[in-house]
Symmetry: C2
Subunit: 151 residues, 2 copies
Amino acid sequence: MQTSKMLEFSDDKPLFPISTAAKLLDISVHTLRMYEREGLFIPFKKKSSQRLFSKSDIERIECIRKAIKESKISINGIRAIYSLIPCWEIKHCAKKSRDKCPAYWEHTQPCWSYKHEGNDCENQKCRECNVYNDYTDCGKIKNLIKTLSGK
Amino acid sequence: MQTSKMLEFSDDKPLFPISTAAKLLDISVHTLRMYEREGLFIPFKKKSSQRLFSKSDIERIECIRKAIKESKISINGIRAIYSLIPCWEIKHCAKKSRDKCPAYWEHTQPCWSYKHEGNDCENQKCRECNVYNDYTDCGKIKNLIKTLSGK
DNA sequence: GTAAGTTGATATTTATAAATATCAATTTTC
DNA sequence: GAAAATTGATATTTATAAATATCAACTTAC
């Protein structure tokens, strides 16, 4: 437990500039920026706005690539799937917060694509949030849904 | 209640041959058969294997069209989304049945794409099942997820 | 201080999912 | 019983999502 937490943490250190990330993933720098623009991942940014990628960023993007290339799910499809993650449940949002949150009402964007001022998670950085980190593919999301219904 | 049930029922009468359905939907006969082959809907079939479409079939396919054309979700994306419907919960499946059911374990196909011999719903026709009928789009599926977590 | 890398924004190309077309064999309609 | 419609299977076309390319301005590395 402790170990896995620590591992996770160390896997999220900003290590690679975009060119290295692109080589590791065998895709172009442009494609990476497109995925970011589409809200599929959130890289570190230096003050100068240069991106930095961690190991777990790389893993995340590998997962996204699989969805696109093997499962033939379009980017908008991936976004729609992410939008189904019941973040309000994971973060134990208060009704008050939840009820004014687009992540609760909409179903086209992942929660981390929305501004969240005034919400329960306004002080949390999305890239450190377990909603963002733990449900990177359809299987994990389905497992989450299973635990909900098991309650 | 009674009224809406009856309405639903009457909306599901096999009325139109495929050519009429195609005209109503403003798509080609071929496209309709493709959607069927992809598991997006289940039409009536006569003994001669000719298809017949009901009003609710038309509505269902309109919804699918919207997902493809407006939301730009690929067919595989739609299938993946349908695969997230917690049918085992809707149908109150016994654990025994659920645990050997691909609809519970997989996440690429809607439940109605699988054979379901030996499962709790083996005697139910999918096209009459509320899993198939009530969760035709992302919004409805998200609402279902909300009710699960509300339990 | 200069060469290499990165930024965002926009335009262009390409890969392929989605839609059509074609076929001979059945079925339906009137 | 002849014309029109439908079937499944396969091949082809098209529409467009995804990936690249180009740009001048700005960082970074040595």
